[in-house]
C-alpha cells in the first residue's frame, strides 16, 4: 500500500503540474483544466461505488 500511495502521490503531482501548465500557457488552455476536471469527476463518481 505504501508504494501505491507513493505512486498515486507522484502521479497526482505530475498530472496537476502538467494540466496546470497547459492550462496556463497553451492556446485555449482552460479546456485542459475543464477536461481534467471532468475526467476527475467521473473517476471519483465511480470510486464512490466502493462505499457501502
Amino acid at each position: 500500500m505504501q508504494s501505491l500511495t507513493t505512486r498515486v502521490l507522484s502521479l497526482s503531482v505530475v498530472i496537476g503540474v502538467v494540466v496546470g501548465g497547459l492550462a496556463r500557457i497553451a492556446p485555449r488552455g482552460e479546456s485542459w483544466l475543464l477536461a481534467s476536471l471532468g475526467l476527475s469527476v467521473v473517476v471519483v463518481a465511480l470510486a464512490q461505488q466502493t462505499l457501502p
Binding site: S12, I15, G16, L37, V41, V42, L51
Partner: protein
C-alpha cells in the same frame, strides 16, 4: 443544480471567485496531501443511505428519487472530499452550461455505474462484482485524494500565482 450554481456564480465578481478558488485550491492540496500521507480527514456529509421505504413506492418513483438523491450527492453518502469540487467548480466557473455539464457528468457516472452491477462483466455474478468493488475502497480513497491534490495544484497554477 449545476446550471443554477453556474447562474449564481455568474453574478459573483471575478475577484471574489478567484479568491475563493485560490483558497479552495490550497485546501484541496492540504486535504489531498494529508489523506495521501495516511491521515484520514472525515468528510463533512450527511453520511446516510437512500431511504429504504422508497423501494415500496413503485419502480419508477423509486428509481427517480434514488437516482436524484445519488446524483445530487450531498443527499447521500459522499465518502470523498473531492465531491465538493463539483458544486464549487460549477459555482466558481460561473457558466451555467459548464456547471450543468460537470454536475451532469457526476450524476451520469454515478447512475450508469449501477448498470455494471445489473450486467456484470467477465462472467462475474453480481455478488462477486459487489464484493470485488467493495474491497477496493482503500484504493479508491487514495485515487480520490490524488485527484483532489492534482486539481488543487492545477487550479493554483492557473489562477493562484
Amino acid at each position: 443544480m449545476g446550471a443554477i450554481l453556474g447562474v449564481i456564480g455568474s453574478y459573483l465578481s471575478l475577484e471574489l471567485r478567484v479568491a475563493v478558488a485560490t483558497m479552495a485550491g490550497l485546501v484541496a492540496i492540504f486535504v489531498g496531501g494529508l489523506e495521501l500521507s495516511g491521515r484520514s480527514v472525515p468528510v463533512l456529509q450527511l453520511d446516510r443511505e437512500t431511504p429504504q421505504q422508497w423501494v415500496h413506492s413503485g419502480p419508477v418513483k423509486w428509481a427517480f428519487w434514488n437516482g436524484a438523491s445519488l446524483g445530487l450527492g450531498f443527499t447521500s453518502r459522499l465518502g470523498f472530499w473531492f465531491w465538493y469540487v463539483v458544486p464549487l467548480a460549477a459555482l466558481l466557473i460561473g457558466q451555467p452550461m459548464i456547471g450543468a455539464g460537470l454536475y451532469g457528468l457526476y450524476g451520469a457516472a454515478r447512475g450508469w455505474a449501477v448498470w455494471l452491477f445489473l450486467r456484470p462483466p467477465f462472467g462475474l455474478s453480481a455478488d462477486e462484482l459487489d464484493a470485488w468493488v467493495m474491497g477496493r475502497f482503500s484504493t479508491a480513497y487514495l485515487v480520490g485524494a490524488g485527484q483532489l491534490l492534482a486539481v488543487g495544484i492545477a487550479v493554483l497554477m492557473v489562477i493562484g500565482f
